[in-house]
């Protein structure tokens, strides 16, 4: 079993989490073009890389942002999801 150490809740089994996809910035709904909206809704850059991702911790109902490499599966950073975290993406 894989474990991950998180702020506030400490060391937890990865199986307690649900993957929420890559962290991406939502375009401004007022100014977005159809093409940009399609890209945001559907299109992905799913080649192997290090990316920031949403992970939901089911027992506590908290959302975290993991920095994970999708080739090696190594998690290099964990932080609590917050408005600030979104803008840094």
């Amino acid at each position: 079993m894989k474990f991950v150490t998180c702020p506030h809740i400490g060391k937890r089994a990865l199986s307690e989490f649900t993957y929420g996809g890559e962290l991406r910035v939502e375009p401004d709904i007022e100014t977005v073009s159809d093409k940009q909206w399609t890209d945001y809704v559907f299109h992905r850059h799913s080649e192997p890389k290090t990316q920031q991702e949403w992970w939901y911790h089911r027992p506590t109902g908290m959302w975290f942002i993991f920095t994970r490499n999708t080739l090696t599966d190594l998690i290099s950073q964990v932080k609590v999801a917050s408005r600030g975290a979104l803008h840094e993406a």
Binding site: K2, G21, R44, H45, T70
Partner: protein, 413 residues
Amino acid sequence: MPLRLLKYAWKKPEEEPRFFPDEKPLKKAYDVVIIGGGGHGMACAYYLAKEHGITNVAVLEQGYIGGGNTGRNTTIVRSNYLTAEGVKFYDQSVKLFEDLSDEFDLNIFYSTRGHFTLAHTDSAMRTMRWRAEVNKHYGIDSEVVDVETIKKDIPYMDVQCNGQHPVMGALYHAPGSVARHDAVAWGYARGAQMRGVEIHQKTQVTEIKTQDGKVKGVQTNRGFIEASKVISMVAGSTPRITKMVDMQTPIEVFPLQACVTEPVKPFMNTIVVSGSLHVYVSQSSRGELVMGASVDPAELHSTRSTLDFVEGLTDQMMDLFPFTSRLKIMRQWAGMSDITPDFAPIMGKTDLEGFYLDAGWGTWGFKATPVSGKTMAYTVANDRDHDLIKPFSLSRFEEFALVGEKGAASVGH
């Protein structure tokens, strides 16, 4: 008998013809380059040569023939999908599969077993009825059956599922089959090669060269190859290839795992799938139980296996087949599944002239091997999307015209 045996032993051994002739050196240019030597790549090469007379073709495979998802899948073939587009497409494939052994003069061990998709909830029953109606409308043998029928056909299954989630009924699809996956790739490869196609193993495409919005050729670990038509048929490696041409798709790659038990006496002739429990099982001709589940929880470009997978799968499997608690798991493995948001493939021409895509095969693409090869060959030969694959074009996402193939769901196969 012993005399005949002796005579045979003294006879000079006959040279077995090689299944594949020795590889030729790479040429500087081909009419068509196919990236990926899995079932799809081989089938496309075969039909290009056989049906369209295009033989100046190279299939480039970074590893060995069929070493990708083709050689890792659990080989379920069926056509009881949910959408009209899906049903028509997969039905063609089932029909092609049925004749392949004869066509190749090679036994692909195509074995028609019957396929049960179990329903454990009211809503699952509703979906089964819906699927059965769509299927029947298109002439597919598909019906909803009750628990008594299930008990009779799958005698060792606990329909009460340990009291946890009793089976309420199932969608039954008589043509559901399994086949020998390697043989499908080999048969197509040999047939293509006999007609002049070149297959180059250990040849990896590292770059795709374009000029003025047109494909010019591919860079490989063995040098540059000129070609004005390049087809990407690389399943779980698709995002790496589309990145080379700066193209975005909705594909995300998730590992899909499977395993087999030690062999036991034949006790189950059918294929059993449970969407609610996220497991499926069939018994191979060797007696092993071939089992799989849904994709791993997060995106990953790796074929590593995990204990979590076997634990989760066997936990559910023991509810369905209690006696399996005594069986040992012999082998487990994984492949990389290229998943799309509507569980339908992405096929056909793209915005880049000369670049064709056959991808988004996720957990369901083995059954499509013949028909995707055939329709992609047509598409490339005529530079026009074949009618059957029009609904699967990459542009459907921009046009918000998704296919909604829930019948494929990640565990449906």
